[in-house]
Symmetry: C2
Subunit: 288 residues, 2 copies
């Protein structure tokens, strides 16, 4: 069973409409709030050579990235920290706070607890003008599909290819880009945290579409084949944005992004170089 | 070092004003939002005989209780679940969702992760009319100090005194009472989760006041002395509200509450039966 299968059991309880996007959407009068939470912990999310400042930064970045993918502006961040050693709290807090200072929102509180395994759960609240809200759904055949940055760099960094380590350890949530893309009329958006392939298949679930990727797909610099393509398609941990947009609205001023392909009418199909892309990437696996 | 000492190191990073209350307060135009997160995990927060439904219920109740203590209405709840066994997710989710159905808000999303130790982190978002926001500060000498319910029942339940087990396993966040007390003009409010004594000392930190408790302090029924008083003063895990209110506004229609004492001008002093109440209750202890 993988995360996506497990979520099906949650849908039975809380309903389908709340689980499709990177954030939950809460309408409040004429305002629109977005809310998201992410749990990170030592054994699966934090490379051992990270500093605690970087762990705090990353914990903030992953939820700010979710806020960005809805076209929203971060308002506030909470951090719940399960600590094996209370001496780690200050550097972790400073990392999270610095990520907010750089990308938006403000660390306004949290919770602390004793835990055998360092566990950080950050929650971000954002706001977006209702007419600018961007969901995963909304892609239309003929739209371009684009990414900010280069997919696969975090995974290349994990495997210690030169020049990519910081992409893994200090991901930059694309808040400014998300806002600009929302104003420019992006039709669908999400972040790349589980890898490009899984993100594209996630998009096919909520859009009646498929994708055809171009051979020019950007790949991590300095990494030879076949690793470069492997990382670009299947590597997780990149907090870049993937978005669809009609061709007449691209490029978007102020956003560095690359066209990686087109939205097609072939439902559920993701093609690269004429072949079907595998449905795999970063997922927790559960035994049984 | 205890939690309160540890929080001092966080204040150095994020500033003092965000850490005084049960929730962070976010002003959004003429609206006022409150946001809170709590981490619970198997070894320290969940009695072994709890059902997973109850674990989910409790995880929701603790943050809804924080929302209640600000006089706010819950809007939304997120749950991040670190699971030792994915099969537990459905019952946990149902418990959290049922707590929202009963007391307010809606479970709108979350995150799932593999974890050796079951860890549930819930985050609640609420809204309150700015003029109804109740903080921990605001108590005035001469105010009554009151509680909903009976303090110490959760601890009595933990020690298996008859009739109190459900108070421990299925705490009821006092959302309706919190709203009513805010409208009635409560001057200060918080929840009792760390026990009555620590809550009162927390109130003396942000108010230039002390407290004198009456001998009639309510205690868990059917529990002999000295345990009954011990639980009432020092037992944690009760998600009841403690509030201060001027005598001419009490009782408040629709709220079952008991006057337990008065706010005094003796700063930092909590007296019961003529003696100083100890500064102890439910706190995580950290080694070193």
């Amino acid at each position: 069973m993988d995360d996506r299968a497990l979520l099906a059991s949650v849908r039975a309880v809380i309903g389908d409409r709340d689980l499709g996007d990177d954030c939950a959407v809460i309408h409040l009068g004429d305002r629109c709030l977005v809310l998201t939470t992410d749990m990170l912990h030592a054994t699966t999310d934090f490379p051992e050579d990270m500093t605690d400042w970087q762990r705090g930064w990353m914990a903030a970045a992953v939820t700010l990235s979710d806020i960005a993918s809805m076209g929203a502006e971060p308002l506030a961040l909470l951090m719940a920290a399960g600590l094996d050693d209370p001496g780690r709290l200050e550097a972790i807090t400073r990392g999270a706070s610095d990520c907010c200072l750089r990308h938006g929102g403000r660390l306004v509180g949290g919770d602390i607890d004793r835990h055998d395994e360092l566990t950080l759960v950050s929650t971000a609240l954002g706001e977006v003008e209702p007419e600018l809200l961007v969901l995963r759904s909304g892609a239309r055949p003929g739209d371009l599909v684009c990414v900010t940055g280069t997919p696969g760099r975090a995974m290349a960094g994990l495997d210690e290819w030169k020049g990519h380590r910081l992409a893994l350890l200090e991901p930059q949530p694309r808040v400014r880009e998300g806002r600009t893309l929302a104003r420019a009329g992006a039709s669908a958006m999400m972040d790349l945290s589980d890898g490009l392939a899984l993100s594209l298949y996630d998009l096919t679930r909520v859009n009646r579409c498929g994708f055809r990727l171009r051979p020019s797909l950007p790949r991590p610099a300095g990494v030879p084949e076949p690793w470069a393509t492997e990382y670009a398609l299947y590597g997780g941990g990149d907090f870049e944005l993937i978005f669809c947009i009609s061709a007449d609205r691209f490029p978007v001023e102020g956003v560095k992004a690359t066209v990686i392909g087109e939205v097609t009418g072939e439902e559920g199909t993701v093609l690269f170089d004429g072949a079907l892309v595998e449905r795999r990437g970063y997922e927790h696996r559960w035994e049984g």
